[in-house]
C-alpha cells in the first residue's frame, strides 16, 4: 500500500477555479472520508489523483511518486502517456454509476485488466477473478452480465474489478449514492473489509455512519478548499467551522 500526498493542488476549468490549493496527507493504510456539499470539488480532487483530470498546478504523490508528471530540474513536466497509464493502473477507482463493461460478464470484467495489462494467463486471471468475486460475495453471479445484476451487486463487481489490478490505493466516488437504500449496506460491508485488510482508501461519501466507523480521518471540503479535517468523531460531532456545522445539520 502507498500513501497519498497533496501539495497545494489547484484545478481550473477554464476561468473557474474548482480546487483552490489542497494540502492533505493520506497515510499508508489510512481511510480518508471526503465530505462536502455538491459542487465543492470532491470528485475533481479524486480524479486528479489518478490523472483523469490534469491538475493546473501543485502535485499529488502516490508512494512518493506523481502519476502525470516527472520532475525536470525545478519544474514539473508531463509524463508520457504509456508511463501515465502504467502508473495509473496502481490506483483503483470505483464510480458512483458503477461503469461495469456492459458487454462482459462479471467474471470477464474482473479478468479484463489482469489479462490485457498485467499479462496474466487466462487461467490465472480466471482463478484470481473467482477469488475476488467470492470475496465480495458474488460467487454465484460470475457469469451474469451487468444488466442482470442489482445496483449493489454491480458495485461489488466494480470493486472486484478495481482490486484485480492489485492497486496500492483505492478511490471511491460516492459508491453508494446511486443505490436503493436497502442495497447500501452490502457495498459498505465490502469496503469495510477492504479497510480492515489495510487498503489505503479515499472515499467521497454521504454515509456519515461509514465515515464514523471506518474513517481514520474525515475531510470536509467546501468551494474548492478543505475547511476542516480530523478524527471523524471530532469533526462529525463537534465541528469547529460554521460551514461544516450547517452542512452536517443538513445531511444528518
Amino acid at each position: 500500500m502507498s500513501d497519498v500526498k497533496f501539495f497545494n493542488v489547484h484545478k481550473n476549468f477554464g476561468h473557474v477555479e474548482v480546487l483552490k490549493g489542497i494540502n492533505l496527507t493520506v497515510a499508508k493504510q489510512q481511510v480518508v472520508c471526503l465530505i462536502g456539499p455538491s459542487g465543492s470539488g470532491k470528485s475533481t480532487l479524486l480524479r486528479c489523483v489518478n490523472h483523469l483530470e490534469m491538475t493546473t498546478s501543485g502535485a499529488i504523490t502516490i508512494g512518493g511518486r506523481m502519476i502525470g508528471y516527472d520532475v525536470r530540474g525545478d519544474q514539473l513536466q508531463e509524463a508520457s502517456q504509456p508511463e501515465i497509464n502504467k502508473r495509473r493502473s496502481k490506483i483503483g477507482m470505483v464510480f458512483q454509476s458503477f461503469n461495469l463493461f456492459g458487454h462482459m460478464t462479471a467474471k470477464e470484467n474482473v479478468m479484463f485488466g489482469p489479462i490485457k495489462l498485467l499479462k496474466m494467463s487466462k487461467k490465472d486471471a480466471e482463478a484470481h477473478a473467482r477469488e475476488l468475486l467470492r470475496k465480495v460475495g458474488l460467487a454465484d453471479k460470475m457469469d451474469n452480465y451487468p444488466s442482470q445484476l442489482s445496483g449493489g451487486q454491480q458495485q461489488r463487481v466494480a470493486i472486484a474489478r478495481a482490486l484485480s489490478m492489485k492497486p496500492e490505493v483505492m478511490l471511491f466516488d460516492e459508491p453508494t449514492s446511486a443505490l436503493d437504500p436497502e442495497l447500501v449496506g452490502e457495498v459498505l460491508d465490502v469496503m469495510k473489509q477492504l479497510a480492515r485488510d489495510g487498503m489505503t482508501m479515499i472515499v467521497v461519501t454521504h454515509e456519515m455512519g461509514f465515515a464514523r466507523e471506518v474513517g481514520d480521518v474525515v475531510v470536509f471540503m467546501d468551494n474548492g478548499v478543505i475547511v476542516e479535517q480530523g478524527d471523524p468523531q471530532d469533526v462529525l460531532t463537534n465541528p469547529q467551522h460554521e460551514r461544516t456545522k450547517s452542512f452536517l445539520a443538513k445531511v444528518i
Binding site: 495509473r88 477507482m93 454509476s97 463493461f101 456492459g102 458487454h103 452480465y145 444488466s147
Partner: protein
C-alpha cells in the same frame, strides 16, 4: 353538466352478466373490404401478365440465369461490395475517431472529408477515379517536392476495378463515419473512464471497451449500407467495369433480349439482398450481448 354526459344515461336494465358469455360481434369496415378487393385484383392481374406476356421471355431468363458471363459479373459485383465496404468501414472508423478528437485540425479534416464525399454525386466520383490517369499520369513513392524512388503509370496500377473500389469505398467511408460516430457516442462516457482509470490506453479502450458496445448501434445501419452497396455497385458500368449489370448489358446488346436479361440480373440482386438481410439479423443478435431485453428472452 356531468349528468347530461353520454355515460350517465339511465341504465335500461340489460343483463350485462349474461351478455358476457357470447363473443363480441365485430363491426364491418366497408372501406377495408373494398381495399382488399382492389389489391387482390391487382395481384391476380399482375401474376397473369407475368405469365402470359411473352415479352418477359421466361425461357430466355432460364437460359441465361446461370450463364458464365452472368456468374462472372456476379462475382465482380460481390468483390466490389465486400472490398468497398471493408474500405468504407476502416475509413469510416478513422474519420469518426478523428471527428471526435480534441485536435481542431483532425476534426476539420474529417469534417471536410464527409462534406466533400457526401456533397458530390457518387456517379461523378466514379467517373473522376476512372479518369484519374489524366490528373495523375504517374504515381510513385517518394518525398513530395523531393526525389521519387519508384514510379508507375497510373493506368497500370489503378485498373478500372481499382478505380471502382476507390470510388465506392471512399464515398462509403463518409457515410460510414457518421454511422460509426453515432455508435461511439452511444457508449456512455463512464465506460471509457473506467477503462482509462484501470490504465488502458485510449486505443485499447476504443478497441476493447467502446467499439464492441458501439457495434450494437452500428450493425443495423451498416447492414443497410451493405445491402444498398450491393446495388450501388451497378453504377460502375459508367467506367466499364464488368459487374453483373455490365455483363447483362453486354449480352442483350448482342441478342436484344433486354427485358429477360434485366430480369436475370434483378433476380440475382434480390436473391443476394435476401441472404444479406438474413445475415444481418444474425449479426444483430450476436452483438446485443449484455442487452437486458434479449437476455431476458433467452432465459425464458
Amino acid at each position: 353538466m356531468s349528468d347530461r354526459g353520454l355515460l350517465s344515461q339511465p341504465d335500461i336494465g340489460h343483463d350485462y352478466l349474461a351478455l358476457t358469455t357470447k363473443p363480441v360481434l365485430r363491426r364491418r369496415r366497408p372501406g377495408q373490404v373494398i381495399a382488399v378487393v382492389v389489391v387482390l385484383f391487382a395481384i391476380v392481374y399482375g401474376v397473369w401478365t407475368l405469365i402470359t406476356n411473352p415479352g418477359f421471355g421466361w425461357v430466355t431468363v432460364g437460359k441465361y440465369f446461370l450463364d458464365t458471363r452472368i456468374l462472372g459479373g456476379l462475382l465482380i459485383t460481390l468483390e466490389l461490395t465486400v472490398i468497398a465496404m471493408a474500405i468504407g468501414f476502416v475509413v469510416g472508423l478513422v474519420v469518426a475517431v478523428m471527428r471526435m478528437s480534441d485536435n481542431w485540425l483532425l476534426r476539420g479534416v474529417s469534417g471536410a472529408y464527409i462534406w466533400f464525399f457526401r456533397g458530390t454525386p457518387l456517379l461523378v466520383q466514379l467517373l473522376f477515379w476512372g479518369f484519374s490517369a489524366v490528373l495523375f499520369p504517374k504515381i510513385g513513392l517518394g518525398i513530395p517536392w523531393g526525389p521519387t524512388f519508384v514510379e508507375w503509370n497510373t493506368n497500370d496500377v489503378i485498373s478500372l476495378f481499382g478505380a471502382a473500389i476507390l470510388g465506392l469505398g471512399l464515398n462509403e467511408g463518409a457515410y460510414m463515419a457518421e454511422i460509426v460516430r453515432a455508435g461511439l457516442l452511444s457508449v456512455p462516457a463512464g465506460q471509457s473512464e473506467a477503462s482509462r482509470s484501470m490504465g488502458f490506453s485510449q486505443l485499447h479502450t476504443l478497441r476493447f471497451v467502446v467499439i464492441p458496445q458501439a457495434m450494437k448501434v452500428i450493425i443495423p445501419p451498416v447492414g443497410n449500407e451493405v445491402i444498398s452497396m450491393l446495388k450501388t455497385t451497378s453504377l460502375v458500368i459508367v467506367i466499364g467495369v464488368g459487374d453483373l449489370l455490365y455483363n447483362t448489358q453486354q449480352i442483350y446488346a448482342q441478342n436484344l433480349q433486354q427485358i429477360p436479361l434485366l430480369i436475370v440480373a434483378s433476380i440475382w440482386y434480390i436473391l443476394l439482398t435476401s441472404i444479406l438481410t438474413l445475415a444481418q439479423t444474425r449479426l444483430e443478435k450476436k452483438y446485443s450481448k449484455g442487452n437486458a431485453l434479449l437476455l431476458g428472452k433467452a432465459q425464458r
